[in-house]
Amino acid sequence: MTAYILRRLAFLGLTMLLTSLLIFVITQLLPGDVCRVILGREVGENALEACRLDLGLDQPAPVRYFTWLGDFLTGNWGNSYSTDAEIRPLVMERLGNSLMLAGFTMLVGVPIAIGLGVIAALNEGKAIDNGISLGALAVVGLPEFVTGILLIEILAFRLGLPANSSIRETATFAEAFPSLILPALTATFVLLAYVARLTRAGVIEELKQAYVRTAELKGLPRRTVIWRHVLRNAMLPTITVVAISFGWLISGLVVIENVFNYPGLGRLMVFAISRRDLPLLQAISLITVLGFALANLVADLLYAALNPRIRIGS
C-alpha cells in the first residue's frame, strides 16, 4: 500500500509538472501586450518598457517558467496584473467559495444520485429504471447555462431565491446558504444524471458477478445480498465516478458561476482570461488542476484502501 501511495504521488507530481508547463506555454502565447493591459491604453512607451523590465518579461521563457514554478511552490504567487491584488489570498478565498458550492452540491447530489442509480439498477428494465435512465439522459443533455437560466426564470423570482449569488466575503454558511441554492441545484442536475447513470451501470455489472449467485444460494435474504455484497463492491467504481464528477463539476462551475455571478474560481478565471491577467490565470489553472488531481488521488487511494485487491496485493 505504501508503495502504491508513493507511486501515485510520484505520478501526480509528474503530471502536475507537465501540466504546469502546458499552462505556462499556453498562457505565454496569449495575445496582447501584458503591460499594455496592466497600464491601460493611455500610457507611453517608456512606462511600458519599465513595466516589462519589472515583470521580467525580458528573460528567456525557460527561465521565466522555472522562476514562476519556484515562486509558486514557495507560496509566492505574486500580484494580479489587472487588480494588483495579491493573488494567493484572492485565489484561496475564491477557491473556498467554489469548494463550498461544489461540496454542497456533492453533499446533496451524490447520495441522491447514488440512490437513484441503485434503484434503477435493482429494477433494471422496469418502469422505474426506464424513468430514471431516461430522465438522467435528458438532464445530461441540458447545458448548465440552460438549466441555470431556466431555474432563474422559473424559480428565482417566484420563490424569492437570489438569482445572483454574489455572497459576502464574511458570510457564514447560513448567510450564504440561500444564494447557494440555485447554483447548487444547477450543478446538481449535471452531477445527478452523470453519477446516477454510472452508478446504475456499476451496480448492474456487479449484479452479474458470480459471487452474487453464491450469496443468494447461501440462502441470504435479498436485502443482505444487496447491501452486504453487491453495494459494497459497486461502491468502489462509484468512488472513482464521484471523483471524476468532481472534475466535471469544476468545468460546470465555470459556466454556473458566471450565470449566477457566484464569486468562485470559475468566475475569477473568466475574468482573468478577459483581462489577460497571466499570473492570476496561471495560479487559478494550477490550483484547479491540483484540486482535480488531488480529488483523483483521493479517489484512487480510497479505492485502493477499500479494495483489498489493491490494498493487499496478491
Binding site: 495575445p31 496582447g32 501586450d33 499594455r36 493591459v37 497600464l39 491601460g40 491604453r41 493611455e42 500610457v43 507611453g44 512607451e45 517608456n46 512606462a47 511600458l48 494580479s80 489587472s82 487588480t83 494588483d84 491584488a85 484572492l90 478565498e93 432563474i152 428565482a156 423570482f157 424569492g160 431565491l161 437570489p162 438569482a163 445572483n164 454574489s166 459576502r168 466575503e169 444564494s179 458566471n258 450565470v259 449566477f260 455571478n261 464569486p263 468566475r267 475569477l268 473568466v270 475574468f271 478577459s274 483581462r275 489577460r276
Partner: protein, 499 residues
C-alpha cells in the same frame, strides 16, 4: 480595459444637495451593481466603475454641474481667472481632510497635477495638460495655474476623470487615501468594494448613506437579475432590453439620461479604399439610421448626423446639418464610380461590448443591399483596444463616451495626428477650424467654427455616427436622490439617501 467611451471628463447636473436646515438623514446601505475595477490609481482609471469608486473616495478640484453643465466648486471653494485667460487662482475649501486625518493643502494639489502632467509618466493626461506652464502653491490653501495660451475649457479639463486630488507623495494607490465622501473599508478584487461614510466629509450632511457596497458583475443581465431579486439596489449601464424588462417591476424606479455618447463607424482615410471619399459617402447612403436606432437602441436615444457635436451641446449643435437620406441606388452608383461596380468586400471590426455587435450585424445586412459586403470580426474589447488594433484596421466600430464639451472629440479623434485618430483623418480646413474652436475665448466665434465643422464632417468626414445613445439606470424605490450622469461613473453616490 480602457475604451475611449470610458475616457475623459464628463459632466451633467450635480445631484441635489442636501437642503440646508434639513436634518441629515443618515444610515442605510446602498448596494450597487457594477463592472469590476481594474485600476485604482486615479491617474490610470478609465472605466465607469473605476471612476465611480474614485469619485466617491477622492474629490475633484472642480466638478461639473449635471444640470447646467457649468463648472462648480468641489475641493476648490472658488477661483479667479486672469483677464488674458492664462492664470487661474484657486482657493481650497476649509476643513477638507484626507482619510488618514491630514488636511488637504495646496501642496497636494500641486503634487497631483505635477504628477498628471509629468511627461515621463506616460499618463493620458499629459497631453491634456500640455498647456499648463506651472502649478504653484500661492499659500497654504491657494493654488495658481499658469497656462501658455488661453483655454476656454480649462475648468472642464481640471474636472477630467483622472484629476482627483491625492495626498502629496502617495505611492500606493491601494491605500485609497482620498478626501472624498466615502472611505474604503474593504476591497476584494473582482468581487466587491465596501465603502463607509466619511464622518469628516467637509460638505455638511453628506454623505447620507452609512455604507455603499459596490458588487462587481461580469454581466449586465446578472446585475439586473440581482436588482430584481433584491440583492442590489442600484444598477447603472445596462442594455436596452434589460432596461425595458425593468419597466413594470414593482419597487424599482428606472431612469435614463440622454448623452452625447455614440458608437461610430469609421473608415481609414489614408489608404485604399477609404482614401476615395466616395466610399464613405456610399456607406452613408447605404445606412438606414432610423432602422438602426429602432433595432439596436429600441428607439432610445437620437439619430446621429455623423459629427460628435451632438444635440446635447445646445450651444454648438447645428440641427440644419442632416445626414443624407438612405439611397441604396445612389450608394451603388457611387461605388461603381469609385471603381467597385460589383460591390466591395470589407471586414468590419468591432469590440464585443454594448450594442456594437448588434450595430455591426444590422450594418452588415443594410450595406449588403448596396453591395458593401461585410465580414464581421467581433473581438473582446480588451483585445481590440489593448493591442491598438483598433487604430490599424480599415473599417471599425468604436464607442465614445459622453463628454461635457465637444472639443475633446475633435482634438483626440479627428485632428491630424491626434492620439486616437483612428480614421487617420487629415484635413487642413478641419484642423484650422478645430484650432479656432479650441483656442478662442469668443463664444460666437467658437459656435461658428463648430457649425462649419459639422457641415464639413457631414460632407467628407471619415466617420458615420448613426445614433447618440442614452444611459440607463434603475434603483430600488427605497432610495432617493439618485441622479444618473451621462457618464455613469461620474454619478454621485453621496447624494443618494434612504427615503
Amino acid at each position: 480595459g480602457p475604451s475611449p467611451e470610458a475616457t475623459g471628463p464628463a459632466g451633467e447636473p450635480e445631484a441635489t444637495q442636501a437642503e440646508p436646515g434639513e436634518e441629515r438623514q443618515t444610515g442605510g446601505t446602498l448596494r450597487v451593481a457594477f463592472q469590476s475595477l481594474v485600476q485604482t490609481d486615479p491617474a490610470l482609471i478609465s472605466s465607469d466603475a473605476e471612476v465611480l469608486v474614485a469619485n466617491a473616495v477622492y474629490d475633484y478640484l472642480v466638478d461639473v454641474d449635471p444640470v447646467t453643465n457649468e463648472p462648480t466648486p468641489r475641493l476648490a471653494a472658488g477661483w479667479d481667472i486672469s483677464d488674458d485667460g492664462t492664470s487661474y487662482l484657486f482657493s481650497l475649501v476649509e476643513g477638507a481632510t484626507f482619510h488618514d486625518g491630514s488636511p488637504v493643502t495646496a501642496a497636494d494639489v500641486v503634487w497631483t497635477f505635477d504628477r498628471l502632467r509629468n511627461p515621463d509618466s506616460g499618463y493620458a493626461t499629459v497631453s491634456l495638460y500640455e498647456n499648463i506652464v506651472s502649478v504653484e502653491a500661492a499659500s497654504e490653501n491657494e493654488v495658481n495655474f499658469t497656462l501658455s495660451s488661453p483655454n476656454p475649457f480649462f475648468l472642464y479639463d481640471l474636472s477630467d476623470n483622472h484629476a482627483l486630488i491625492i495626498k502629496d507623495g502617495t505611492t500606493d494607490a491601494s491605500d485609497f487615501n482620498g478626501s472624498g465622501p466615502f472611505v474604503v473599508e474593504t476591497y476584494s478584487p473582482e468581487d466587491r468594494i465596501v465603502l463607509v461614510a466619511n464622518e469628516n466629509y467637509f460638505v455638511e450632511g453628506q454623505p447620507a448613506l452609512d455604507h455603499v457596497e459596490i458588487i462587481f458583475f461580469a454581466e449586465e443581465g446578472a446585475m439586473v437579475d440581482a436588482l430584481r431579486g433584491g440583492q442590489v439596489d442600484l444598477v447603472m449601464r445596462m442594455s436596452t432590453p434589460l432596461f425595458e424588462s425593468l419597466q413594470d417591476v414593482e419597487g424599482i424606479e428606472t431612469t435614463f439620461a440622454s448623452t452625447n455618447g455614440f458608437d461610430l463607424i469609421r473608415l481609414r482615410s489614408d489608404r485604399e479604399p477609404g482614401n476615395d471619399p466616395r466610399i464613405i459617402q456610399a456607406m452613408k447612403l447605404a445606412t438606414d439610421r432610423e432602422a438602426i436606432l429602432e433595432l439596436v437602441q429600441q428607439g432610445y436615444g437620437s439619430v446621429g448626423n455623423d459629427s460628435p457635436i451632438g444635440p446635447l451641446y445646445t450651444n454648438y449643435h447645428d440641427p440644419a446639418v442632416q445626414p443624407p437620406a438612405r439611397d441604396v441606388e445612389a450608394a451603388r452608383a457611387l461605388l461603381a464610380e469609385a471603381g467597385y461596380p460589383d460591390g466591395i468586400d470589407l471586414t468590419l471590426h468591432t469590440p464585443n461590448t454594448g450594442g456594437r455587435p448588434d450595430l455591426a450585424a444590422v450594418l452588415q445586412s443594410q450595406w449588403a443591399e448596396a453591395g458593401i459586403n461585410l465580414e464581421l470580426s467581433v473581438e473582446p474589447e480588451e483585445v481590440y483596444y489593448g493591442d491598438d488594433g483598433w487604430l490599424e484596421v480599415d473599417l471599425g466600430i468604436t464607442g465614445w463616451g459622453s463628454r461635457p464639451y465637444p472639443q475633446f472629440y475633435l482634438d483626440t479623434m479627428l485632428v491630424t495626428g491626434a492620439v486616437w485618430n483612428e480614421s487617420h483623418f487629415s484635413d487642413q480646413e478641419f484642423d484650422a477650424l478645430a484650432a479656432t474652436a479650441g483656442g478662442s475665448l469668443d463664444e460666437a466665434e467658437r459656435a461658428d467654427a463648430y457649425a462649419q465643422i459639422q457641415a464639413l464632417l457631414a460632407d467628407r468626414g471619415p466617420v458615420i455616427i448613426p445614433y447618440y445613445f442614452p444611459v440607463f439606470g434603475a434603483i430600488s424605490d427605497l432610495f432617493t436622490g439618485f441622479q444618473l450622469e451621462a457618464f455613469p461613473g461620474r454619478t454621485d453616490l453621496h447624494t443618494i439617501r434612504l427615503k
